[in-house]
């Protein structure tokens, strides 16, 4: 849901909110997730709309691994 929000904001060119939502995913610690899934990485510094959308795609590839969304996501590029 957080990456959906990030993508929506990015596509609406609201880059501040897009980066905030993206970094909610990137910096999330496993302990703070009900499933124990969190990247725990430093925040992204993506600046342009394209950079943020690329980061969202990359994180969807990882976060939704083997979840069946890859085809839809690839079509959106």
């Amino acid at each position: 849901m957080t990456l959906i929000k990030a993508e929506v904001y990015a596509r609406q060119n609201d880059l501040v909110n897009a980066l905030t939502e993206l970094n909610n995913v990137v910096t999330k610690q496993p302990a703070s997730d009900p499933y124990g899934v969190g990247a725990g990485l430093p925040p992204s510094v993506a600046a342009t709309q394209d950079d943020i959308l690329n980061e969202v795609y990359k994180n969807r590839c990882i976060e939704l691994y083997m979840s069946g969304f890859k085809l839809e996501d690839m079509e959106k590029i």
């Binding site: 959906i4 993508e7 929506v8 596509r11 009900p34 499933y35 990882i62």
Partner: protein, 151 residues
């Protein structure tokens, strides 16, 4: 680009189900006949958010993503008899299908995860418990992602 593929049909029943009068009206008979572990109203919001994004309806995707709680958990609960079949075929043995490389998830350069990414162990574990425990397996998640308030 937007609206690359319009998916009106999945959205119709989701929207009907989420009418203000209906979320709490799921019948007990239905609940007792489906596997436990899934929060239905939250799952419907999550599904609607996903399909809205695919359909290019950004405003609806945003409102539904907000309506789906990230703290409510939905899982498919497997047992020693009913194993997590995707984990069985894709991850536990690595001899049917699997990622080319567990450190890259088979992704091309540029999309590959940071080696320090703490999500990797979750998705590539081969521990036996993953066959039956939704909680630590990678693949129970396949549908739970769809159903729960995941990313």
């Amino acid at each position: 680009m937007t609206g690359h593929r319009v998916l009106p049909r999945p959205l119709q029943p989701l929207t009907m189900r989420l009418q203000p009068s209906t979320p709490n009206a799921i019948s007990g008979a239905f609940i007792t006949n489906i596997p436990g572990g899934i929060d239905i109203p939250n799952a419907l919001h999550a599904l609607k958010a996903r399909f809205s994004l695919f359909a290019g309806d950004f405003a609806q995707a945003l409102s539904e993503a907000t309506a789906s709680s990230l703290t409510v958990k939905s899982t498919f609960n497997f047992t020693t008899v009913n194993l997590n079949l995707i984990f069985e075929t894709a991850t536990s043995t690595n001899n049917v299908t699997a990622a080319i490389d567990n450190t890259t998830l088979g992704l091309p350069a540029g999309l590959q995860p940071d080696p320090a990414d703490k999500r990797l162990p979750f998705y590539t574990t081969t521990t036996y418990n993953s066959k039956i425990l939704g909680i630590c397996s990678c693949i129970y998640y396949t549908m739970a992602h769809l159903l729960a308030g995941r990313k």
